[in-house]
C-alpha cells in the first residue's frame, strides 16, 4: 500500500501517475480539502526563468510536460503563453538582469530588454526585461483533472496524519488525529508547508518553513495585461476571466500564521497597481486571501529521500512559490521512483541530502 499524505497538486499528480501505471493500492490522506494548502492559493503562472541552473534545467523539462498534459487532462487547463515582464527601476537591477540575461541565453531561454512603454498600459518610462516563454494556466482545472481521474480508484481519507510509524528502519504506516492507523509500506509526504512537521515526527531535520503571503484580486476588466509583471515590490497579472491578481513582495512572515489578510497591504497593493497601470483608477479589490510559501533553506524543492531515511519514506515538497507549475512533472518523476524505483537524475539533484553535503541550489527568484 502506498500512502500519500496531502491531496494537493503534488499528491494528486503522483496519484494520477501511479494510476497510469496500473498501481492499485494507493490511499491519500487529506487534512482539509483538495488543494487546501498552496495549490488553491497560488496565482497560476509558469516560467523557465529561475536564478539557479538546476531550477532552469528542471523547468525545461517540467514546463513542456505541463503544456503537453493539456491534451490529456479531463478539464481545460487554459494554458496561455504570456511572458513575464520585469520592471527595472534602477541601475543595480538593470545590472542584475544583464547577468541573468546572459545566463539565461546560455541555457537557450533568453529574453530581451525592452522599453516599458512598449506595453502601452504601463505608466513607467524606463527599462523592462521581457521573458516571452512563460505563461499561465488554471490551477484548479489541473488539480481537479487529477482528482477526477483517481477519485473512483483511490480512497481519500479526510484526516490529519499525525505520526509516521517506523519499524526496524522501514515505514509501516501512519496514525491520524482521529486515532486511525493506516498501514502502508511506502509513504510519500506531499503536504506542502506542513511537510516539515511530518519529517520531525520521524526525527529528521525540518527543512520546510511556511512564510505567509497575501494575494488580492480586482474586479474584472477586458483582458489587456498579458504578462505577469514583476515590479520592485509587487507583482500582478490578469486572468482570462479578467481579474487582475497579485500581491506585495516585501513582507515575509514566518510560521503557521492564520490565513487572514490586512487592510494596509490591500491598500498598498491597490495603490501601487493603480499608479503603474492605466485605465483602472476606479477598479475595486474584489477579494483577498493568504497562503504559504513553503521555504527550504535554499528555496528549491526537495524530492526523493535522504540517505539515512527509513526505507519506504519519500518526500516531494518545499517548492517556495513555484510548486504548482512543477507539480505535473514532479508527480511523474515521483511515481517512477515510488513504483518502479526508477531514479531520474533530478531526484539526486533535489534530494534532501544536499543540505548536509552543502550542495545547495540557491534560488533567489521567488515569485
Amino acid at each position: 500500500m502506498i500512502i500519500i499524505i496531502g491531496a494537493g497538486a503534488h499528491g494528486l499528480s503522483i496519484a494520477y501517475h501511479l494510476k497510469k501505471k496500473g498501481i492499485k493500492d494507493v490511499i491519500l490522506i487529506e487534512m482539509k480539502r483538495i488543494g487546501y494548502g498552496s495549490s488553491s492559493r497560488n496565482i497560476a503562472r509558469f516560467r523557465y526563468h529561475f536564478y539557479s541552473k538546476e531550477n532552469v534545467e528542471y523547468a525545461k523539462k517540467a514546463i513542456p510536460y505541463l503544456i503537453s498534459q493539456a491534451k490529456e487532462l479531463f478539464l481545460n487547463p487554459a494554458i496561455n503563453i504570456t511572458g513575464y515582464l520585469w520592471v527595472l527601476r534602477d541601475e543595480k537591477q538593470i545590472e542584475t538582469f544583464k547577468k541573468l540575461d546572459s545566463f539565461w541565453k546560455g541555457l537557450s531561454i533568453g529574453g530581451k530588454f525592452v522599453k516599458c512603454k512598449d506595453f502601452e498600459y504601463l505608466n513607467y518610462d524606463g527599462e523592462c526585461y521581457f521573458a516571452p516563454q512563460n505563461g499561465s494556466f488554471h490551477h484548479d482545472y489541473i488539480l481537479y483533472s487529477y482528482y477526477i481521474e483517481i477519485m473512483k480508484d483511490y480512497k481519500i481519507v479526510y484526516d490529519e496524519a499525525t505520526e509516521i510509524l517506523v519499524e526496524s528502519g522501514r515505514v509501516k504506516g501512519i496514525k491520524t488525529s482521529s486515532g486511525k492507523t493506516i498501514e502502508g509500506d511506502k509513504i510519500v509526504i506531499t503536504a506542502g508547508a506542513w511537510s516539515g512537521k511530518l519529517l520531525e515526527k520521524v526525527k529528521l531535520p525540518n527543512y520546510i518553513e511556511p512564510e505567509r503571503i497575501e494575494a488580492f484580486i480586482t474586479e474584472p476588466i477586458k483582458y489587456f495585461i498579458k504578462p505577469l509583471i514583476i515590479d520592485k515590490e509587487f507583482y500582478f497579472s490578469q486572468t482570462l476571466k479578467g481579474e487582475i491578481i497579485g500581491g506585495i513582495e516585501t513582507r515575509i512572515e514566518k510560521g503557521f500564521l492564520p490565513f487572514t489578510i490586512s487592510f494596509s497591504e490591500m491598500v498598498e497593493f491597490a495603490t501601487k497597481l493603480k499608479s503603474l497601470v492605466k485605465r483602472i483608477e476606479g477598479i475595486g479589490i474584489l477579494r483577498g486571501w493568504s497562503g504559504y510559501y513553503e521555504m527550504t533553506p535554499d528555496h528549491s524543492h526537495i524530492m526523493g529521500y535522504g540517505e539515512n531515511w527509513p526505507e519506504g519514506l519519500y518526500i516531494n515538497a518545499g517548492y517556495s512559490g513555484h510548486g504548482m507549475m512543477f507539480a505535473p512533472y514532479s508527480g511523474k518523476l515521483m511515481a517512477d521512483l515510488v513504483a518502479d524505483d526508477r531514479k531520474d537524475p533530478a531526484i539526486a539533484t533535489f534530494s534532501p541530502d544536499r543540505f548536509t553535503k552543502y550542495k545547495l541550489i540557491e534560488e533567489n527568484l521567488v515569485i
Binding site: Y223, L240, I261, G282, I285, L286
Partner: protein
Amino acid sequence: MEISTVVSKKHRRVIGVSYIEPGLPNVEIIINGKRTNIIEEVHQGSSLLEIPFNIELFHRNQFVRKITPLLSNLQNLPYRYDKVQSTKKTIEKINVKKLIIGGGTAGILSLDKETLLIGEEIIGDIEYDESPLPQIERNEVIKKLKEKIKEFENKIIKGIYVGKFDEGLLFETDSKFLLVSAENIIVAAGGRTLRPIFKNNHIQGIVSRELYLRKLKKKYNNIIVLGFTNISIRTALNAEKSTIIYPKGVKPVFSKYYLEKAEEKGVQIVEGEILDVKKKKNKIKVITNKEELNGDLIVFSTVKQPRVEITYNLGLPYKFNRTLHIYQPQDNEKIKIVGGNIGLSNDFVSILNSNNALDLNTCKEFDPGVCEEYIEQEKSPYLYGEEGMVCECEDLDMKDISFALKLGFNDPESIKRITGLGTGHCQGKVCVYLVGSITKSNTLITFRSPLYPVII
C-alpha cells in the same frame, strides 16, 4: 418605473435586473468606465450576438481548449474603470464596547447607550412591506423604531460591513473606511430572497421581493409570486392582484395566520413546475405544467436567506435548515445573532427575539421552520424547473452545475472549483446558497474579505 437590463458576461444575453441590495448581481455596473447604479438610473443593454457558451464545451471540446485564450475577448467586460469622483476616503480606527451590524428592526431594537450601530439601510423591509403583522400594528412599530433612531442618532452610522482584516472589522461609509474593534458584536444584517431556477429566469420582469417592495410596487398591480413561505404571502398581500406558485414536490411552510390573510384577499396559491416564461410588452406569462398565468411582474419571495457570508466572515459556523433550505448562522459568547440574520422573517417574531421574549411555540406559529426543522424538504424550493440561470455574475446555468454534479461533485466549494461558480462580482452571495440548497450541502464556500469591492 422601468426595469434595467444588462448584457451577461459569457452568453452575452440580455438579463433583467432583479436585486436592489448593493453588492448583489447587476445592481451596479460599469457603463463607459463609470460606476452606475442601474436601479436608480435605468439602463437597457442590447446584444448583437448571443454566444452558446457552456462549461462542458469549455472543458471537453478540443477546439475550444485550443483557442481558450481568445475566448477571453468574447466576454462582456468593462474596458476601463474611471476614477470615482469623490475625495479620497479617510481611514479611521475605533474601539467600541458593543457593535451592531445592520440597521433593520432587530438592529435598532438592540441599541443601547454603549452601542454603535452600523447599517447599510436604516429601517428595512418593514417600511415598505404593508402586509399585516400578527398582534402588532406595523405603523406603531415604525413609529417606535423612528423614536429610537432619534434617541440614538449619534450612535448610528450608515455604512457597509466589508469584512474582517488583521487591523479590525472594516466598514465603508460615504466618507470613511472605519476599522472597528469591538468587545461584543450583535449581527442584525438580515436576509434576502434569491432568484429561483426555471427556463428563461433571466428575462426582464423577474425581480426580488426587496426590489419590488422598494421600487416597483406602485406601478405593477398584478404579480406572480414565487415562493413557499410566509414571506411569499406577505409579498402577494402588497399587490392588488396576485397568485403564488410554489414548486412541484415542495412542501409549503405557511402559517395559518397568513393563509387566512391570503384567502381574505383572494390570493391564489398553486403548485407548479415552470416550463417557460415569456414577456410580451408589459405583460409576463408563466407556463406551468398545469396552466398559463399572466401578470405584470414575477416577484420571487422563496424564503429569506440570512446573510451568512457576513457571519461566516466574522468566524461563525452555520447549519443547513432542511425545512426552509436556508443556512443559519450559529452565535457564540462574543457574537450574537438576531432577527432576519437568524432566518426570522416576521417582524413580530423578530421583535420578541430582540427583547429576549421569544418562545418556541410563537416562533413555530408565525415563523415556521426557523426555530425548529419539522419536515425535511427533499427538493430544493428554488427549483421550479430543470434549466435556467444559476450564477448571474459568471453567467452559469443549471446545465453547467449538472456537468459538475455528474462528475460526482456535490457541494458548492467543489462545484465552484470546476465551474467558477460564485467567483464573479457578487462573490457568491446568491448562487452559492442556491447550489447549497440544490445539493443539500452542509457547507458553502469560504466567504473571504472584502465582501464587497473596495475602491482605494
